[in-house]
């Protein structure tokens, strides 16, 4: 197996046995990036000098007997909405073109402290608003399984990099499914932790009550070691959880005998591709054969969760994105007054999807419409939380497809915002509730496109979540890798 195809855990073993070096791993992924970037465009920025320095440091550490743990010496990527001191951070927006943060996000600091080698910054839908990574001001990313298709989004660059081998792992952010859906569409593992467990300090905010950073990885085990490195209380994030954190490895490798697995009735039916439904049903049968107790459950509020999400997320975004005004950083347009300057700067700097959501959120919060839209959406959010609390009295985890479809053809949904929004129908409820969710690749459809299996658990239920995810991974034996099509000429 080539170095760029290794999991983090496999690469770590080779680093410690002296079989390979961090510099070798870095060279392998950079080589892979050189071969694939023209087709995939996973990265916005590659920091060759910074990465080379970090890899040399890791190799020197190993020679000195210093070991910072599983991520030490591992080449990894960050979604470009996470601040990196001294390295351009744009959130894929023109309004932040050239912005060089004066500080590191907490996750950046934690990866550096864990000895990870940061390769660069990955492409995303502008300000993480989208499900295809086509809304980037710097050009779309494409899916390694079929370069005519999207990698999902908004963490599509991170997902594509991990799937194609130009990073061994990457961080993404998930506001409505932006880690799990691209992981599903690119055949890798993607996990959104419990809200409040990974610091949002230095994450460029989209919708603060929904945003959560998490890992995109080649295996469930890799996702676990990445999460262990980045989570934990952070005084710089006032929503950060200060209590006890779950043990991720306590259940991994154990079977699922006796676990109660709820199959969500509302996350199936119209709009779901038959191949996706069949693959999920087959995995549910296999879990049953392993001794899990399968229960069909109904959560009626899931039918209106998406409607609530598309009011709450834009409402929060309209407030969060007020800071982009051409005064303190980023793009500035000309204007005779401060107000004219700000309004021109914003109209020039934001792309169409961002403008659409700011307008939508501003409307939902405006006098006369607040109660009917935003206020009512918050009630739905509370009702989703109650629906889940009721359901978790009878089941340990919930399962569904991660995405109702496999990767769709690039351009297909660009002009139909509502069709694009439906991509996240299975993942949104976990953002509204704050609970964790994970997508594990289980099979390919007849077009050789990956299908993801979604496991959900109650808040701080990561132990049982990873236990089930690890078992799904073992049963699926999904080892396929994308083969890039040769470009003619």
């Amino acid at each position: 197996m080539t170095l760029h195809d290794l999991t983090i855990v496999e690469a770590g073993a080779r680093l410690r046995s002296g079989e390979t070096t961090s510099a070798d791993l870095l060279a392998a992924v950079l080589d892979r990036a050189s071969q694939t970037e023209a087709q995939i465009h996973a990265y916005l920025t590659i920091d060759r000098a910074g990465a080379a320095e970090a890899a040399a440091k890791a190799d020197a550490d190993f020679a000195d007997g210093i070991d910072h743990g599983p991520l030490h010496g591992i080449p990894m990527a960050l979604k470009d909405n996470m601040c990196t001191r001294g390295l351009e951070t744009t959130a894929s927006s023109q309004i932040l073109a050239g912005y060089v943060p004066p500080y590191d996000a907490t996750v950046t600091t934690r990866l550096r402290d864990a000895g990870a080698v940061l390769i660069g910054k990955t492409n995303l839908d502008e300000f993480a608003m989208g499900s295809s990574t086509e809304n980037s001001a710097y050009g779309a990313s494409y899916n390694p399984w079929d370069i005519g298709r999207v990698p999902g989004g908004s963490s599509g660059g991170s997902a594509a990099a991990v799937a194609v081998g130009s990073a061994l792992g990457a961080l993404g952010s998930d506001t409505g499914g932006s880690i799990r859906q691209p992981a599903s569409l690119t055949g890798i593992v993607g996990m959104k932790p419990t809200y409040g467990t990974v610091s949002r300090y230095g994450l460029i905010a989209f919708a603060s009550s929904l945003d959560q950073i998490g890992p995109l990885a080649r295996s469930v085990d890799d996702a676990a070691v990445m999460l262990e490195a980045i989570w934990g209380h952070d005084p710089l994030d006032s929503t950060s959880y200060a209590g006890e954190y779950p043990d991720l490895h306590s259940g991994m490798g154990r079977d699922v005998r006796g676990l109660r697995v709820g199959v969500v009735k509302e996350l199936s039916g119209e709009g779901y591709e038959p191949a996706v439904e069949e693959a999920v049903a087959t995995m549910v049968e296999r879990l049953a054969a392993e001794g899990a107790e399968i229960v069909e459950v109904s959560l009626p509020t899931f039918d209106i969760a998406m409607s609530a999400y598309y009011l709450i997320a834009p409402a929060e975004a309209s407030a969060n994105l007020a800071r982009f005004d051409g005064i303190r950083f980023g793009h500035r347009a000309e204007g005779a007054t401060t107000n004219a300057l700000m309004a021109r700067t914003r109209a020039e700097g934001f792309g169409p999807e961002v403008i659409r959501r700011i307008l939508l959120g501003t409307y939902a919060l405006s006098a006369g419409y607040y109660d009917a839209f935003y206020g009512q959406a918050q009630k739905v959010r509370a009702a989703v939380q109650e629906d889940l609390a009721r359901t978790y009295k009878t089941v340990d985890v919930l399962v569904s497809p991660t995405s109702p479809t496999v990767a769709f053809v690039a351009g297909d949904r660009v002009d139909d915002p509502l069709a694009m929004y439906l991509s996240d129908i299975c993942t949104i409820p976990m953002n509204l509730s704050g609970d964790p969710g994970i997508s594990v690749p289980i099979s390919l459809d007849h077009q050789n496109l990956p299908i993801g299996f979604h496991v959900m658990a109650p808040s701080l239920g990561e132990s049982v979540l990873f236990r089930v995810a690890a078992e799904v991974e073992r049963l699926a034996e999904f080892t396929a890798k994308p083969v890039l099509q040769e470009v003619a000429g």
Binding site: P102, G196, T337, T362, Q376, Q385
Partner: protein
């Protein structure tokens, strides 16, 4: 019933200086999205609780102590225009 949207007013509130043709497009797209979003009004009954942090966190205080902050010059280096340690902006009101 089509949802009423004064798109020019919304754009003003959002500080977005957009041409009329674009505003018209956004109005029709918002109409379609809001038609769908209006499904929130079909919620049966009232939830018994308010939506809250999943881990029940409330407010967070910290000691009122001086702590190191970002370097002023490094921060101002990102500003489109700055002078003598300040951000520079045009007048808030028209001079006429």
């Amino acid at each position: 019933m089509p949802i009423e949207i004064d798109i020019a007013h919304v754009a003003r509130l959002a500080r977005l200086d957009l041409p009329q043709a674009e505003l018209d497009d956004y109005r029709s797209q918002l109409g379609a999205i809001l038609d769908h979003a209006a499904q929130v009004q079909s919620l049966d009954g009232e939830p018994s609780t308010e939506s809250e942090h999943p881990l029940g966190l409330v407010n967070v205080l910290r000691p009122d102590e001086r702590r190191p902050s970002l370097d002023r010059d490094e921060v101002l280096a990102q500003a489109p225009e700055s002078r003598d340690g300040y951000f520079v902006v045009p007048p808030a009101m028209d001079s006429e």
